[in-house]
């Protein structure tokens, strides 16, 4: 009998097609609660696709067909009963390109809460502040909360998107290459933030930066052509990969 852990994922025989193109082939892994899991692999191997299955973002893509099961805690998120809206609240997502809404910094963070029906100004203000503090952005924007979010730098915008995700008090944050467009300092801030957030959230992050995976993640999954070739402790995978394909990829000799 399977032991389900709150906030963790158990993925079984997950297969995904875009039309008749197989994008994920029989994925079977357990993702650990309150740990950082990095997804690595060459472009087009299915990392983003996999990430999107975890909060059913692929449902929005026409002719996308998913098979198998993803347990989130004890709940199979692909079952009929699963509430997708609530699922996406609990499992937030941050994308590769910062995508703030064209509204004020404050409204960006408050938006989701308002959609949930929260109207009390004091509650909203407190929640926005907390999210901005947690996303390590508050000090930089506290005097300009009414300004457009688009006036922020790329790194600040990305942290705003993280704040927006955190504001919904999710259990899990999915991140798809969150620092690929950022400079080393902004990247370092996000990485530090991820390490901080890990105390409260389960984080799954796609990255093309091997050193980043090494710095911030506890577990790493190596994807290749829609399959997981190797999955294990990050320190192990980058020092003693078990599969020669993993070694070829992480040492840059993949061909």
């Amino acid at each position: 009998m399977k032991q389900f852990v709150e906030g963790a994922f158990s993925i079984e025989n997950l297969t995904l097609f875009y039309g008749n193109k197989l994008a994920l082939n029989d994925i079977n892994i357990d993702i650990h609660n309150k740990q950082v899991t990095a997804l690595i692999g060459p472009s087009g191997c299915g990392k983003s696709t996999f990430l999107r299955t975890l909060n059913r973002m692929n449902d929005l893509i026409p002719n996308c067909k998913v098979d198998g099961s993803i347990y989130y805690g004890e709940e199979n998120i692909y079952s009929q009963e699963s509430d997708v809206i609530d699922l996406r609240r609990r499992i937030g997502m941050v994308f590769q390109k910062p995508n703030p809404f064209p509204m004020s910094i404050y409204e960006n963070v408050a938006y989701g809460l308002k959609c949930q029906g929260i109207k009390d100004k004091n509650i909203l203000q407190a929640a926005v502040k907390k999210a901005l503090v947690d996303a390590a952005l508050y000090e930089e924007v506290k005097d300009r909360l009414k300004e457009s979010a688009l006036s922020l730098s790329g790194g600040q915008q990305q942290r705003l998107c993280i704040a927006r995700a955190i504001a919904m008090s999710p259990d899990v944050i999915l991140m798809d290459e969150p620092t690929s467009a950022l400079d080393p300092i902004a990247t370092a801030k996000i990485e530090e933030l991820i390490t901080e957030l890990k105390k409260d959230y389960t984080i799954i992050i796609v990255t093309h930066n091997m050193q980043q995976a090494l710095r911030i993640s506890d577990y790493t999954a190596f994807f290749l052509m829609g399959e997981i070739i190797e999955y294990g402790k990050t320190s192990e995978l980058f020092s003693h990969p078990k599969n020669p394909k993993t070694e070829d990829y992480i040492t840059g000799r993949f061909g």
């Binding site: 020092s239 840059g252 000799r253 993949f254």
Partner: protein
Amino acid sequence: MTYRVQFEKELEDLKIDLIKMGDEVISNIKDGLKSFLTMDGELAQATIKKDKIVNDYEIIIEKKCLQIILKEQPVAKDLRLITAVLKMITDLERIGDHAADISKMTIFMQENTKPYTVKQMALMTEASQKMIKKALDSFVTRNLELAYEVINDDDEVDEYFLQVKKIVAQAIRNNEIDADYALYLMMVAKYLERISDHAVNIGEWVVFSILGEHKHDVIF
């Protein structure tokens, strides 16, 4: 097919430099001992001078390793390889110092110092040279068994050292050996014994480069 052609080339270059450094060191041991046994002061001077080449190799290889770490951010077996090289050159450099030390014994000897032949000295030199060569070969060919062989070969050199000590002690008791010469000879024997210890260290780094274990501890 590999995508990191330049990186591969840099790693190959590193191995070639290491072998060249090893060749210099081996040749200096040979010349150092020859200078001692034949009391050839000129050869001793030349050998001491050549140690600079060894020292220069250490710096060149060090720089290359650091550049590779900086540019290529190696992981897994690549990181083990570069770390092993950085460690091995320290031992090779020390071996080079000992070859120079042996040559210095030649220079310290006076014109009137009377030599005394101990055949184990040549055997010991040969054995320690072989150990260095074997250690470097095992690195380049990633031959774990050969690396373990080097680690075990040390016993042979230690045994020669004990034999030399015994023979010299006997010769002293029999008044057959010049007192100064006896001291110099023992010093040279000790240097050779130390050289083989460094060869063992190199063998241990070869094991690390292959397994990530150093003296049975997994360190990477």
